[in-house]
């Protein structure tokens, strides 16, 4: 139970981080912001991938982000890239924490 | 190969004489494209069925997987001409029909697809009359299935 709570907390802090990012971008042009968000999402995804734990919807969301950008829906594109990054970051947190915490799931020992 | 074909032709001629019904039987294409059960049944038989307790329809109440639902239809009715299966809620409800010659024991099994929960009808044409029985089958959405 405590662990679940910890997981949620981590997710929320990841969200908070995400909010900060978008307020920074007030000064930048939308397409610069997109490029940054997209690159950040890609980097986070690569790190999750390296830790062998990616959530199944993330690639698709990143793909949708690219499509939205190509179609000129830059705001949507940024939002989607941020969502993909958030997912990748949470997957990474999950992977790293589970490297220790998996033992908590051992019910037979 | 050629000889075989000729032989088959002769046998087929014999069959025609002995059993004229098969001569005109052909696939009831209209039934297979009808999008409701009544139209399909009328297209094949030209009559609606009367309920009969002499037909046994064996099908699970809850189908494990709608893609493969085992069905067995058997009957005590005499002079069986055909056995058919209809899944009322399928996009095209008419599933299969078996024209039974006099050498057949009136029982058939087949595995069928069900798009969703539905009433399933077993139709038996015997002595010129169409009879039916029905069962309700629940098709569930699979979760894991390990």
């Amino acid at each position: 139970m405590i662990r679940k709570y910890a997981f949620v907390t981590i997710c929320i802090s990841a969200l908070a981080g995400c909010g900060q990012e978008s307020s920074d971008s007030d000064v930048a042009s939308p397409s610069d912001t997109f490029a940054e968000s997209y690159a950040a999402a890609e980097a986070a995804l690569a790190e999750a991938e390296a830790n062998r734990n990616v959530w199944s919807k993330t690639d698709g969301i990143l793909g949708q982000s690219k499509t939205a950008y190509d179609e000129g829906r830059t705001d949507d594109a940024i939002e989607l890239a941020n969502e993909a990054r958030l997912q990748a970051e949470m997957a990474l947190v999950q992977a790293i924490s589970q490297k220790k915490d998996w033992k908590a799931n051992l019910v037979l020992e | 190969m050629h000889r075989r074909l000729v032989l088959k032709g002769i046998v087929a001629l014999g069959a025609i004489a002995a059993w004229p019904r098969l001569l005109w039987a052909s696939r009831p294409d209209a039934a297979f494209i009808a999008d409701n059960a009544d139209d399909a049944i009328m297209a094949v038989f030209g009559q609606m069925p009367v309920a009969s307790e002499q037909i046994k329809l064996k099908i699970p109440d809850i189908a494990e997987n709608g893609a493969v639902v085992p069905v067995t239809v058997s009957t005590d009715l005499a002079d069986v001409e055909s056995i058919s299966i209809v899944v009322v809620n399928n996009p095209t409800p008419f599933v299969a029909s078996f024209d039974m010659g006099p050498r057949m024991v009136p029982i058939v099994s087949v595995r069928i697809k069900m798009g969703q929960s539905s009433q399933v009808l077993a139709l038996v044409k015997a002595g010129g009359t169409l009879y039916s029985t029905s069962r309700d089958v629940k098709v569930t959405i699979g979760g894991c299935g390990g």
Partner: protein, 278 residues
């Protein structure tokens, strides 16, 4: 079991210190005990039949399927593939012990030289490559069919996977597979064990969850949902997707270790593959 092991540990000191975690045989016995307590009416071998061991409605339809199961096509096709010689005149039989007949119970095994777990499917592709043939795709198709034929010839043999205690690589691979089984993954934050140990036998939507014990005995499987025969690692990928985790590659180190662990847990159960599932 623990009662015996503990004093041994005290005596063994250092030796046991290396494996503070329970060993494979302890794990297996704990599983047997757990599921036997949980399903007192289910005879041990029945766990090889997955959810059909305790879901009577599903079992009835499964028995009907098993009467003339679609995997028979795969066995026949697999046999033809198995018996077709390679371009160099050699065949699969030359690569395997006993000509590849009745050997699946020994897979996966730990290859000390290569330092990795070898599943039957990996061995089939190794065999092809050693004979100058292209490797086959791992989850479905020809490889699954060959595996189905080899599984069929192994029916009735008891699963006999070995994790030699004196081979640290093997012990580590088993431990890694076990860790994977208990590791939460994906957006839904589930481990394999969340479903198949804690919730085994319970309903997930319309399906009952199978037990860890027996999960490795009946592969490859013709799943009606797939409409074709697929390997155990295809199922791993599917399970991962079901918890919203991106599947790893078939025959990745992780999945092979997982198969090693799962297969060991089914030791002593008779092989009953290929199988049919909903």
């Amino acid at each position: 079991m623990k009662k015996i092991i503990l004093p041994l540990c005290l005596i063994g000191g250092l030796l046991c210190g290396l494996t503070a975690m329970a060993g494979p045989e302890e794990d297996r016995l704990a599983m047997v005990e757990y599921y036997s307590d949980r399903f007192p009416d289910v005879p041990l071998q029945e766990f090889a039949n997955g959810l059909y061991a305790f879901d009577t409605i599903a079992r009835e339809q499964w028995i009907e399927m098993e009467d003339f199961p679609p995997y028979e096509i795969a066995i026949e096709d697999g046999q033809a593939l198995f018996e077709t010689p390679f371009a160099n005149g050699k065949s699969y039989a030359d690569c395997f012990e006993n000509g590849g007949i009745g050997v699946k119970q020994n897979y996966p095994y730990f290859d000390t030289d290569a330092g990795e777990v070898v599943t039957l499917e990996l061995a089939i592709n190794h065999c092809r490559e050693a004979n100058g043939e292209e490797p086959l795709l791992y989850m479905i198709g020809a490889l699954a069919e060959i595996s189905a034929y080899m599984a069929y010839t192994s029916r009735g043999h008891e699963m006999a996977v070995k994790v030699p205690a004196d081979k640290p690589g093997a012990v580590a691979a088993y431990a890694a597979g076990k860790q994977f089984y208990y590791t939460r993954r994906g957006q839904l934050n589930f481990a394999c064990s969340s479903c198949h140990i804690q919730s085994a036998g319970l309903k997930l939507r319309a399906d009952r969850l199978s037990t860890t014990l027996g999960q490795a005995t009946h592969w490859p499987v013709y799943r009606s949902k797939w409409g074709e025969i697929g390997t155990l690692q295809k199922r791993f990928a599917e399970c991962n997707s079901q918890v919203w985790a991106k599947p790893l590659e078939a025959q990745s180190v992780e999945y092979r270790n997982l198969e090693y662990f799962l297969s060991y847990i089914s030791n002593g159960l008779e092989l009953n593959g290929p199988g049919s599932r909903r």
